[in-house]
Amino acid sequence: MRAAHWGVIAGLIAAVWASFAYLALDLVQLLSPEAQVQMWKYVVSFFPPDVSADYLRRVGQGTLETIAISAVGTALAAVLGLLLALPAAGRFGAVPRAIARLVLNFLRSIPELVWAALMVIAAGLGPFAGTLALAWHTTGVTGRLFAETLENTPSEPASALRLAGSPASLAFLYGTMPNVVPQLIAYTLYRWEINIRMAAILGVVGAGGLGQMLYFSLSLFQQPQAMTVIIAMLILVVIVDGASAWLRKRLAG
């Protein structure tokens, strides 16, 4: 076991060394005095942030847009996810189950930012592309979570309704849904939290919201404006973190 540990350590050191060598990272140049002066100048150019009323209003607009992208994207994904979760949970037999799972895996394994870049091509620059991108990826996630919830829920209530003569759709709505809805809502809210953070950065490929403002201002070398957007992102992230921690504590206790 000892030898294995030393082997792992030697392997890790070799991997790190190889990485630096492969990238040909010139650390000396990166940390040279001139580079440091350059870096410092760049950092200083971000201050003070632009807090003119006009720009703050635009940043506020961008923040609202970011929240709207995340909310609509998540809502779409919840609906689509539920529609795909029904076959994925095996409600319609083995073949639809396999197909639905394949679709969900595909949607989920492509990251949001890649979806966003694709959707910008399909729907043009702007928040609609970001909404669609979040919706596709999140559908893959919620679909799988919903399917697992449906599979794990007790089948007795629905069976009782079926045995008493109700049609399958009503047995599902009144026998299965009341058991799973709280879990579905919890999963949806959890993904919404993640998606707010994601929506803030999707804009760097042109999909609207705060990210797009940041990308524009950095491209135009307007560092003070960029700083304002970064501060807005920070505030958004901190508020979402705080709110979710507070809610979790309240709901758990």
């Binding site: 992208i69 609509v72 809502a75 909404t131 760097v204």
Partner: protein, 275 residues
């Protein structure tokens, strides 16, 4: 049975109310996001999509392009690994600074209290600042500062993951049994010695397994950061998308999926060996 009684649903009203509330809240969102599915089916954009998606198959498999993809894949792995090395260099010392159990001034009133506080609070703030700005934003900033290429990716991962590692390392150290380290400090041991003999032996497996998991995340993140010009597979994908070359995009996507699966397997193996 009375038919009116049979159809009564006691939960219908609240359920309806909740649904209406959600729809009313979401309504302005649809206009804010310029929600317009019809725009997807307009003649012009539909032509672009059909043309682009049509070129997704067959995959681009020319020898030259595969060589390029292989090179970018290695670059992505190298960015993740070098970035993690940086992140550990940043996160590790900060974790030791912010861990409360390693504080000597905590033991009782003494001269170090103000000094300890004046180091610990900024360190905590720095960790929060590093990890609260998303890695893509850091990458965007570093691309402007050090130029296009892998250096920006390495620095971005180093900073963001440094902030995360620092916080989680210190949480891991606190969550283990802190009595040995307290005993060492109270009998006059130095901080470093107390850490080495009181914390390190217990916490090591957990620290290693979290770091390995983060490396796996770094592989995914470095692909994504490529989209803003930070090198690796992502930059290659961005180039192919910009040229609307579907065959190349699908080859790179497939490579990305394989890379993620592989990083998953390597990280599982490493965690098994070290635990």
């Amino acid at each position: 049975m009375n038919p009116a009684l049979r159809l009564r649903d006691p939960a219908a009203a609240p359920r309806l109310l909740l649904t209406v509330c959600v729809i009313v809240l979401l309504w302005p969102g649809f206009s804010l996001t310029e929600f317009d599915p019809a725009s997807l089916f307009e003649e012009r954009s539909r032509a672009t999509i059909v043309k682009f998606v049509g070129t997704f198959f067959p995959l681009e498999t020319s020898r030259e392009f595969l060589g390029l993809v292989l090179k970018s894949t290695f670059e992505t792995l190298a960015i993740a690994t070098a970035g993690m090395a940086f992140a550990i260099l940043i996160g590790w010392p900060l974790a030791l600074v912010v861990t409360r159990s390693l504080s000597i001034s905590r033991i009782g009133p003494g001269p170090g209290r103000v000094a300890g506080h004046s180091v610990r609070v900024p360190a905590r703030f720095a960790l929060m600042f590093f990890r609260s700005i998303p890695e893509v934003v850091w990458a965007l900033l570093f691309v402007r500062a050090v130029g296009l290429g892998p250096a920006a990716g390495v620095l971005a991962i180093g900073v963001t993951y440094g902030g995360m590692l620092g916080k989680v390392y210190s949480e891991i150290l606190e969550s283990n049994d802190t009595r040995p380290v307290t005993a060492l400090l109270e009998t006059g041991g130095g901080r470093i010695a107390a850490f080495c003999y009181g914390m390190w032996p217990v916490a090591l497996p957990e620290l290693v397994s979290y770091s390995v998991y983060r490396w796996e995340c770094a592989v995914r993140a470095s692909v994504i950061m490529g989209f803003v010009g930070a090198g690796g597979l992502g930059q290659q994908m961005e180039l192919s998308m910009r040229m609307l070359n579907g065959g190349e995009v699908s080859t790179i996507l497939l490579t990305f999926l394989l890379l993620v699966v592989m990083a998953d397997a390597v990280s599982a193996l490493l965690r098994k060996v070290t635990s």
